[in-house]
């Protein structure tokens, strides 16, 4: 494996600017790596070889001309989740419904990344329409966890997390509705950040649950995530829910955090996120992480958030309700596949046959749950109650943040589970989002950073750090301090322990 694929995004960008290596060489090294290991990992649904090399050449021309770099990430290769539109490549959202669909426009974050000189390698696999926690719901087959190819890489953004953990890309984009950035990060030993709702534009993202969906950066280090966060973040007039405020200075926060001094920082441990259902190996890793934060000088406080236990239920009413509405647009008329149009059948019949053929089981389940929860007679009891729970969760957070600066918990209750284990048990699958959903419901930023491997199965565990709305700097600072201390005490970054993958050729 080329050493170029093991480097951080920050290192690669610096080497490209110093002319120690060209952006084309860096991109080619990653394309070669994809050719070598992706037959086994299946992180990518589409590889954009030509456009990636063209983007890299443009960066090299900039460097040769002595121009200022377009951004601190110019020339760094990135894996883009297939829910984000990019012209010249299909956007399938992991669904048969959009098989082969080429969007006629770029998402705002795609535009921002290309303007920043980031090289987009291709589109990554995901649970269909981002509904799932394992990437098994993709219509194009599951992605495999580089730590153990028989296990799931998390979901819905399992393609992006697996691309990072298998050194196919230095950066990735994920989207997080209930945990789809953070949980894949946790189970692959990578970093995943869900920004404040509205902090990153949703324009050009295929919508799942509009009041929860949020794109964010994925990387192998906290600094790389922060650098990408600053590229994609910020106000976008094309997204009416975009926050019209400056991007929080997260890169500066990482620099401050990396000094390794958390004196004066109050960290709350969420009491409700432990006990039954939590792997002992996850809890040992989590408790060690909390101890490390204490050693760094932070004051650790136990915090009770009594309504968090209702968050999962409320989420699985609100998200399906919004999805049943959003996915009504797939009507076989304007884009996507069409099935059964024999000249006899009506538009409505064709629509029903197309949706039956185009959507997978989990998408159908959620559409029907949402249709039920929104229907007359049930609305108050289900959707209405779920919205009230959302208020109660926000109140729990408000009370907590009067006492502490950030909250921490395990990112997800277990390590990566075997492919197939929960495929036919939707409720068991939903439990993977138990700890990530509250921050989603409140619109707060939250991130997962690798803690130590589970002592039981030797698989990665994630530490979740949550912060109040627009207070990303707090969580990045804590994450950076923890990362430095963790790596020192563990003999290097966790990701350096990922087993060597067999090469296909």
């Amino acid at each position: 494996m080329s050493e170029l694929t093991r480097m951080t995004a920050a290192e690669l960008a610096a080497k490209i600017q110093a002319k120690e290596v060209s952006a084309v060489e860096v991109t080619q090294a990653h394309l070669d790596r994809i050719a070598d290991v992706d037959p086994a990992v299946h992180a990518f649904l589409h590889v954009s070889t030509d456009s990636a090399l063209a983007q890299a050449r443009a960066v090299d021309e900039d460097v040769a001309a002595g121009n200022q770099p377009a951004s601190p990430l110019a020339g760094v290769p990135l894996a883009l989740k297939d829910v984000v539109t990019m012209q010249g490549a299909p956007t399938t959202v992991g669904s048969r419904m959009l098989e082969g669909w080429e969007p006629p426009y770029d998402a705002t974050i795609t535009t921002r990344m290309l303007e920043a000189g980031i090289v987009i390698l291709g589109k990554t696999n995901m649970d269909e329409f981002a509904m799932g926690s394992s990437t098994e719901n993709s219509a194009y087959g599951p992605t495999h966890n580089p730590w153990d190819l028989d296990r799931i890489p998390g979901g819905s953004g399992g393609g992006s997390s697996a691309a990072l953990a298998s050194f196919e890309a230095a950066l990735a984009i994920g989207t997080d509705t209930g945990g789809s950035i953070r949980q894949p990060g946790a189970v692959t030993g990578t970093v995943g950040v869900k920004p404040t709702y509205g902090g990153v534009s949703r324009y050009g993202l295929v919508a799942f649950s509009s009041s929860l969906d949020q794109a964010g950066p994925c990387a192998r280090t906290v600094m790389d995530a922060a650098l990408l966060h600053e590229v994609i973040g910020g106000h976008d007039p094309l997204d009416a829910t975009s926050i019209n405020e400056p991007v929080p200075p997260v890169v500066q926060a990482v620099r401050e955090g990396a000094i390794g001094d958390l004196r004066g920082v109050k960290i709350g441990v969420v009491k409700e996120f432990s006990g039954e259902g939590y792997d002992p190996g996850v809890m040992v890793s989590f408790n060690e992480a909390v101890e490390q934060l204490r050693v760094l000088g932070a004051e650790i406080v136990e915090i009770s958030c009594p309504h968090f236990k209702y968050a999962l239920s409320a989420y699985y009413l609100i998200a399906p309700s919004e999805c049943s509405s959003n996915l009504a647009r797939f009507d076989a008329m304007r884009y996507g596949i069409r099935v059964g149009d024999n000249g006899e059948r009506s538009a409505e019949e064709v629509m029903s046959l197309t949706r039956e053929a185009g959507f997978g089981a989990e998408v159908k389940r959620r559409i029907m749950i949402g249709t039920y929860a929104l229907s007359s007679g049930y609305y108050d009891a289900y959707y209405g109650s779920a919205q009230k729970v959302r208020t109660l969760i926000k109140r729990d957070f408000d009370a907590a943040y009067e006492k502490v600066d950030v909250l921490v918990s395990p990112t997800t209750p277990t390590t990566a589970f075997p492919i197939g284990e929960r495929a036919d048990n939707p409720m068991a699958m939903y439990l993977a989002d138990l700890c990530t959903i509250p921050a989603s419901m409140a619109g707060h930023p939250a991130m997962s950073v690798p803690s130590k491997l589970s002592g039981i199965d030797g698989l990665p565990v994630g530490l979740q750090i949550m912060a109040p709305a627009l207070q990303e700097t707090r969580m990045y600072r804590v994450a950076a301090a923890y990362e430095v201390a963790r790596n020192e005490s563990d003999g290097g970054p966790l990701i350096s322990r990922v087993p060597e993958l067999e090469v296909a050729r």
Binding site: S211, L312, Y335, R338, I369, Y382, A386
Partner: protein, 109 residues
């Protein structure tokens, strides 16, 4: 009509017929086998998520959005949109520069 979600565990929340009705509402031509499977799964999910009613007291206001939203306006000026060709590029069928769709009206209409 206001109905309370059943609180008694073990009593089906949703019948196979109701699932068939939902599938029709959602324009999903589900198969008989899918109905059997979904009816059981949806029942388990709905029984589980019904616990939201335990804490949803009358005096708790609903939150529909994480961050308070107000209307967002832009200046009423022309800006570039998709060309006709772009708009039709992903259509399953197009004819004469338009989306071609199956017949809209049924026999009885």
């Amino acid at each position: 009509m206001k109905r309370n979600p059943p609180g008694v565990r073990g009593v089906p929340t949703i019948s196979r017929d109701e699932v068939a009705h939902l599938a029709r509402l959602a324009r999903l031509a589900v198969t008989e086998q899918e109905l059997d499977k979904f009816a059981g799964q949806l029942d388990i999910i709905l029984q589980s998520v019904a616990q939201v009613t335990e804490v949803a007291a009358e005096d708790v206001p609903p939150t529909s959005h994480a961050v308070p939203l107000t209307n967002v306006f832009r200046d009423d000026v022309v800006r570039p949109g998709l060309t006709q060709q772009q708009a039709l590029s992903g259509a399953p069928a197009a004819e004469d520069g338009r989306f071609r769709v199956p017949r809209i009206l049924g026999e009885e209409q």
